[in-house]
């Protein structure tokens, strides 16, 4: 069998002829980002092959490669098939740390955990209580020692907090990347992979192992034995819950996207493979639908959506934009497929939000200014930088409201005119000499922001509301946290009427999970609330296509002088 030598990682591995380099790398346990899971459609596993390597492989061409790429020897790992012994270097930076949002809006609730303890001096034992019922007993008086963990299972990151159930205080917090992302980047790919028994076992084992690692870290740092942790509340989107509970996610991948696991259930931690107390429990919060999950319902609780007077819009901007409209305690929820542009995917110079990613762009004064994460040399454009950049292009008239690059470049300040270049014969706008935005990139942003805005507009329309009647807009989640209200409005993702009404509530999936951990009555209250939430399926709304089409436009530039010059 041919041998593959990954020089950069000093790994030799034997594979059958016809194995893709991506599979070879995985068998060699190399961490690589392959969002499309080897379908050849995302172009993120690009690698440069030398002459010799190309002779030892069958390179299948991909439309994700530009003519320049081909000339320079670039190929995709997933579409390059091994034929003979081959040596290559893998792209650097596969293991970059990601920016992770841990904190979020908290709700003040009295301490009333699901897990309780009761010492019985006559027998010198302590009963462990679950919802008031005795679960087990421990020798001696352990009433002051009871802990729980709240975990937000994001599709990209996991965030866990350790909480003292006797005092309600935070003992520690830890985060990690969701290891499932190595096998399948987006939620749909994970549903697909998890739809057969082997894939489900893999994704389940990966996430449970990572949660166990987080719990171990927290316990060790706090000097607490893991057996004193009696409960874990796991919040996350509906797919993440299915995978964590090892429930087949297949129905989530097809209309009408009906969940098998509806949440508001307790499982035995042992049965799920979580290493806490042998009597420990796992609680999954309720879900609304296949695409409005426990991360959002936990957020409903953390943001007190049911108690707000007037009109509140709660939005989690991401690959799936989930949103909840609350009107005097009545809630409607929906989700919209924004696509991967916000994660820097399908974008020519897109990267994830890691060191060196451009996160802020300004075209003020006719010059391009960029700010990168950690102020490192620019390596690419992450989602928030992409949104910021496109907002600035729209404001300064570099792109027209339709999204097309202006035909009237002469009217732009000379500094901006100089940023235009060409890639594969098409215009591109350079933010740095190496990092640019193509017309296709702007189209991707239009699809993504148009989808979220269309969701907002449809929810408002169905309720006969206008944007001006919204009293407050809450931005939840990690991606939204890094966006400015200014660029959200400039790009048209939010209507201008939201100006001055926006609050960032952060990771409310985690804070909601914490509230469910420390205040058991909230579980029943939330389950009741969720049963009353109306799930809106945008695809079934007659106006959706029209609203979506309108939402793809950008607000007109704030430089009317441009038209006058023309």
């Amino acid at each position: 069998m041919p041998q593959v030598h990954f020089r950069s990682h000093d790994i030799h591995i034997e594979v059958e002829v016809g194995t893709s380099l991506l599979d070879a790398a995985r068998r060699g346990r190399v961490r690589l980002e392959a969002p499309c899971n080897g379908a050849g459609t995302c172009g993120k596993c690009k690698v440069r092959l030398d002459e010799e390597a190309r002779r030892a492989a069958h390179v299948v061409d991909s439309r994700k490669l530009s003519d320049d790429d081909r000339r320079d020897g670039w190929a995709l790992l997933c579409t390059t098939l091994v034929e003979a012994d081959i040596a290559l270097d893998l792209p650097a930076g596969a293991e970059h740390g990601l920016r992770i949002l841990e904190h979020g809006k908290q709700i003040d609730l009295p301490l009333e955990p699901w897990i309780g303890k009761r010492f019985r001096p006559e027998r010198n034992v302590t009963d462990i209580l679950s919802g008031g019922d005795a679960l087990a007993e421990e020798p001696g008086d352990t009433t002051t020692r009871a802990y729980g963990v709240a975990v937000d299972i994001g599709s990209t990151t996991l965030v866990a907090s350790l909480i003292d159930l006797g005092t309600g205080s935070h003992v520690g917090a830890a985060s990690a990347l969701n290891p499932q992302a190595r096998h399948a980047q987006d939620v749909l790919s994970r549903i697909k992979l998890g739809s057969d028994a082997q894939g489900l076992a893999l994704l389940n084992a990966e996430v449970i192992a990572e949660i166990n690692r987080l719990i171990t870290t927290l316990a060790v740092e706090a000097g607490i034995p893991r057996r004193r942790i009696y409960e874990a509340v796991l919040a996350g989107n509906t797919c993440m819950l299915h995978l964590a509970a090892r429930v087949d996610p297949e129905p989530l991948g097809r209309y009408p996207y009906t969940p098998t696991l509806n949440g508001d259930v307790h499982y035995s931690a042992k049965a799920l493979g979580l290493i806490i107390s042998p009597f420990g429990l796992v609680y999954f919060p309720p879900v609304v639908s296949g695409f409005v999950g426990a991360d959002i319902t936990a957020g409903m609780l953390a943001a007190s959506l049911a108690d707000e007077k007037g009109v509140t819009l709660f939005v989690d901007i991401g690959t799936n934009g989930e949103m909840v409209l609350a009107r005097d305690g009545r809630l409607q929820a929906t989700s919209t497929a924004a696509g991967p542009a916000f994660e820097g995917m399908n974008i020519a110079c897109g990267i994830r939000a890691a060191r060196g990613a451009i996160e802020r762009v300004s075209l003020e004064g006719g010059e391009v200014t960029v700010k990168t994460i950690d102020d490192a040399p620019p390596a690419g454009l992450c989602g928030s930088g992409l949104l910021d950049a496109v907002a600035e292009l729209a404001v300064h008239g570099v792109i027209e409201p339709s999204g097309r690059f202006t035909k009237n470049r002469g009217a732009l300040p000379s500094g901006l005119q100089a940023c235009f270049g060409e890639r594969d014969g098409k215009p591109a706008f350079h933010l740095t000499p190496d990092i640019y935005l193509s017309q296709g990139d702007i189209r991707q942003v239009q699809l993504a922001k148009g989808a979220v805005r269309a969701g907002i507009d449809v929810l408002l329309r169905r309720n006969g509301l206008t944007a001006a009647q919204v009293d407050r807009a809450l931005i939840a989640g990690s991606f939204g946290y890094h966006l400015t209200v200014r660029s959200l409005i400039d790009i048209g993702l939010f209507p201008p009427e939201f100006d001055g009404k926006v609050t960032y509530v952060g990771n409310t999936s985690r804070t909601g999970a914490e509230a469910l951990l420390t205040h058991a009555p909230s579980r029943e209250a939330l389950a009741r609330l969720v049963r009353s939430v109306e799930a809106v399926e945008l695809a079934n709304d007659d106006a959706f296509t029209k609203v979506f089409v309108a939402a793809m436009a950008f607000p007109p530039p704030l430089r009317p002088a441009l038209e006058e010059v023309a």
Partner: protein
């Protein structure tokens, strides 16, 4: 100079569609009738020509989804006025296509773009809508004597349904009667090859070129 005027009016109609002015397209379509000009020519040289131009710009990334859909709206608005007055049966050529979004998926904007462009190219389009079971594609294709089956999906999770359509065609021993083309953002040429489809196109305009080529209306590009 009625011939000149006629030509100018058709050109104005094309421009109205291309410039996304539905109201103007309707006014001009009415004017065609008021002046007693030929309705079919107004459709072919005005409305369809307008969408065709929009489609070309779409292909060049100058126009995007909104422009193409609005141009199509303008075309359909004009067509509604002109259609009752088309005297003879003009279908250009006699190629039929069955199109739809595969079962489990309800995202149909991409499919609608391809449908519009196939119609403009002169195909007789049977649109089955979205969430369409594999068997229905086959049954409809047989019933309408289609030349082509066009399958669309936006979701990774529903891609495999396309392969099922091909399998059913084979099981019913009618595979060679139809060309099958596939499209949608999670797909690739390799996927198309793997499921045994006849072609894949990454974009709407290319799908039309592919369709024409497969039914023998143009030479290989």
């Amino acid at each position: 100079m009625p011939a000149e005027e006629q030509k100018r009016l058709y050109e104005q109609l094309a421009t109205a569609v291309f410039e996304l002015d539905e109201q103007l397209a309707k006014l001009l379509a009415q004017e065609v009738l008021d002046r007693g000009y030929d309705a079919w020519q107004a459709v072919e040289r005005g409305l369809l020509e307008g969408v065709n131009r929009a489609g070309k710009l779409f292909d060049e990334e100058e126009y995007f989804v909104p422009e193409l859909l609005i141009a199509a709206d303008a075309m359909y608005a004009g067509l509604a006025i002109l259609r009752p007055h088309i005297k003879t049966h003009h279908t250009g050529f006699n190629r039929r296509v069955v199109i739809g979004v595969v079962q489990g998926d309800t995202h149909d904007i991409g499919k609608n773009l391809v449908r519009i462009m196939l119609e403009v190219a002169g195909f007789e389009v049977h649109d089955l809508g979205r969430d369409v079971p594999p068997q229905k594609f086959v049954d409809t294709a047989i019933a309408v004597k289609a030349d082509l089956i066009a399958l669309s999906t936006l979701m990774t999770t529903t891609m495999e349904r396309m392969g099922e359509v091909v399998s059913i065609l084979e099981a019913e021993k009618v595979r060679n009667r139809f060309k099958v083309i596939v499209g949608g953002s999670p797909l690739s040429q390799q996927f198309s090859d793997r499921i045994g489809a006849d072609g894949y196109a990454p974009k709407a305009a290319q799908a039309v070129e592919l369709a024409k080529r497969l039914v023998g209306l143009s030479n290989a590009a």
